[in-house]
Assembly symmetry: C2
């Protein structure tokens, strides 16, 4: 039997906390999710939030625990310095940060990953590195996108994070929709697949003779004004335009276009990316459920915490 | 003597109303500015706002009046249909829209200008066409930018508006600064020339291997986090990044880079564009004061309203 509990694993982000009780074969024996992201923990008492979340699992014997995500940021429990790219299981395992807990559980925090990009500017991730290492097998290579507020594109090289880039697509979309003229003609936010596709295609054009994103977003105004996109479809149009722009930028960033991209994220948003990538002729693989939990187990194993 | 009043001219936009009493030689005999943009006129009673603004000039004899800007939009006094590109003095003069006024002044509204861009999407301007025609002489060619909430770049061909493009730079900047994580590390908004220049330069890099705007704006976060741009300089850095991105897009849109650009706008903002253009090796000409008033007189003359 391998299905005895071996690890308590936490994917602890800005807005939510997901905890897993894991067996050494990566199977999930128990799980819970709470809205106790690091910004919502009362009095920033992470120790209490941790004890409360995993307390029910401690009676089964003293297990090691490991956490990834913003819990290791400056605003979290304790700041875990970034590991440098390229970063794989061994590098992250070596850089685990032990944290004192009053319930006696030996908790370690996975570091984020940082690099200096081709422009000489730092880029960072926290939590996504663990999802990537849970998704990709040792030695495997590929391209992944983790869509969201701050989308990450990751070039995985032989099971390690080779390089990555952040795109502020989700947050920029929300700001443009909520706080510029572009939201004023929108009358709903149900998905309109045709309008979404038009937005994606519009973003795919080369810039020469046409202009780029700062020009193209204005089309979400004029196409509405001239009644060429209905008010209830403008939200989908702008969403397609922004996701399409992210993909165009990411393909330029990669230099060599991939034939397949692994999409790791929430189902609805992932479906939009799969659809947008298909319009660019790129196939998708949907990420595994609980990639973070698998990644946490693999890092714990690399650190010798789990046999 | 040519300095007798010949025309009442109004530059009537979204947030302000500028009125001019003009002589036929383009000299300004009197002027006033009120915060009565079309969104601030009580009960949308434009007739009363007009009478109140120009009433003091009517005693001198019944002059013709002409207005440009958002007063001719759907939200304004009466909608003046767009003229198509290319548009010069004659085309705009022919399309003037007469409006009834209770004070008996014969008022005409200048139409906006529209085109369908290379992506097949409409683009529009209202008010800027008049500034352009006041800035450029008949037969003159060049490139102009009118920076602002929605910056316009205009290719002027032999005294006519050949083509143009809108870039939502100012509004996108405000939304990103005010409503995303990028504003959180900002501790002031005084101009820091070095940080502004760094932003401009950062935006100028080609995208291959690097990514574009959705990626680069994240640098306003990470350079702050890693203390490579101080909190009180981040505002200028992001401003430079956005204006630099606009210039990069506009140069792609123009296809052939100009050696000189005419910058028509408020002095402080224009100075930022002059500085950003210089970093791209492009010289600037500052626009004439009261370009709108000149344009209005020239259109009125082309329409036979002024001798």
């Amino acid at each position: 039997m391998t299905a005895s509990p071996s690890l308590i694993a936490l994917d602890w982000g800005t807005t939510s906390l997901r905890a897993y009780l894991l067996a050494r074969d990566e199977s999930v024996l128990a799980r819970l999710e709470r809205p106790q992201g690091i910004l919502n923990v009362p009095d920033r008492n992470f120790d209490a939030a941790f004890a409360e979340a995993v307390g029910g699992w401690i009676g089964r014997g003293m297990l090691p625990a490991i956490a990834s995500g913003m819990i290791g940021s400056r605003q979290g429990w304790r700041e875990a310095p970034y590991a440098d790219c390229p970063a794989g299981l061994d590098a992250l395992a070596k850089a685990l940060l032990p944290v004192e807990t009053t319930n006696g559980v030996a908790l370690r925090i996975v570091p984020g990953v940082a690099l200096v990009d081709a422009d000489g500017v730092p880029d960072v991730m926290r939590g996504e590195e663990t999802q990537i290492l849970g998704q990709f097998a040792a030695g495997e290579s590929g391209v992944a996108v983790l869509p969201g507020t701050h989308s990450k594109w990751v070039l995985v090289e032989q099971g390690r994070i080779g390089r990555f880039a952040t795109f502020m697509t989700g947050e920029a979309f929300a700001a443009l929709k909520g706080h510029t003229i572009l939201g004023r003609l929108m009358t709903g936010d149900a998905l309109d697949g045709d309008a979404f596709g038009r937005g994606v295609d519009h973003a795919a054009h080369p810039q020469a003779g046409r202009g780029g994103l700062l020009h193209r977003i204005f089309s979400a105004r004029t196409l509405g004004l001239f009644d060429r996109v209905k008010g209830d479809a403008l939200h989908s149009y702008l969403s397609g335009l922004m996701i399409g722009a992210e993909i165009a930028e990411a393909l330029a960033w990669l230099v060599q276009s991939p034939t397949r991209v692994t999409v790791i994220g929430a189902p609805e948003l992932s479906a939009l990316y799969v659809s947008a990538l298909a319009r660019r002729g790129i196939a998708s693989t949907l990420g595994l459920p609980d990639a973070a939990a698998r990644g946490l187990l693999r890092i714990a194993r690399a650190a010798g915490l789990v046999a």
